[in-house]
Symmetry: C2
Subunit: 110 residues, 2 copies
């Protein structure tokens, strides 16, 4: 088990508990960005997510727990895992990456 992400507790590699450090730590954990990305449109079930990203259930569960503890994702019995209001805000900050990544890929293959 990895150190939890919680306010006031320092992130890995940071002595301060500054929010940006916590956030970068959280987002830098394997599959976290992908999970948020997969939930960008509609809610998904546990297995659905697992298959979509191709990770083991162990780690999918762990990451989902972290995302729930940090109020970015919630589990709705009727529809499945979905982004919270906070999670949607974060997603919107990320959406420009989609467009930018195309440009980036072009520059790489050039």
């Amino acid at each position: 088990m990895v150190k939890p992400i919680l306010p006031g507790r320092p992130a890995r590699g940071s002595k301060s508990g500054r929010p940006i450090m916590l956030l970068l730590d959280l987002l830098g954990r394997r599959w976290v960005l992908r999970l948020i990305w997969e939930l960008r449109e509609e809610p998904k079930r546990f297995r659905e997510l697992q298959v979509a990203i191709g990770a083991s259930p162990t780690i999918v569960n762990e990451r989902l727990a972290e995302l729930r503890a940090t109020k970015l994702v919630e589990l709705d019995d009727a529809s499945g895992y979905r982004l919270t209001t906070l999670g949607k805000e974060l997603l919107h900050l990320f959406l420009p990456l989609n467009v930018w990544s195309e440009k980036w890929a072009n520059r790489l293959s050039a």
Copy 2:
């Protein structure tokens, strides 16, 4: 050695090779976001980066190599590691996270 990030090659957990998947894979690797963040203001030396984030030289070197291969970071002999133009563009997409993370932290501790 982890699978390299290169255009046309699929990211971990993705069959497609779509740029956004490559980008999310790259950014989701440990320390990558932190490294970009640490370079946001001025260039830094290898050891300086290593100390700043508190990771082992092995992995710092590996991640820097990936960031160089993907043209986000470059090494200038005179000043040290720094963001490329492309890297600065990416950083600018990330800057809003800094402000947002404060709000997020407040909501968590509430």
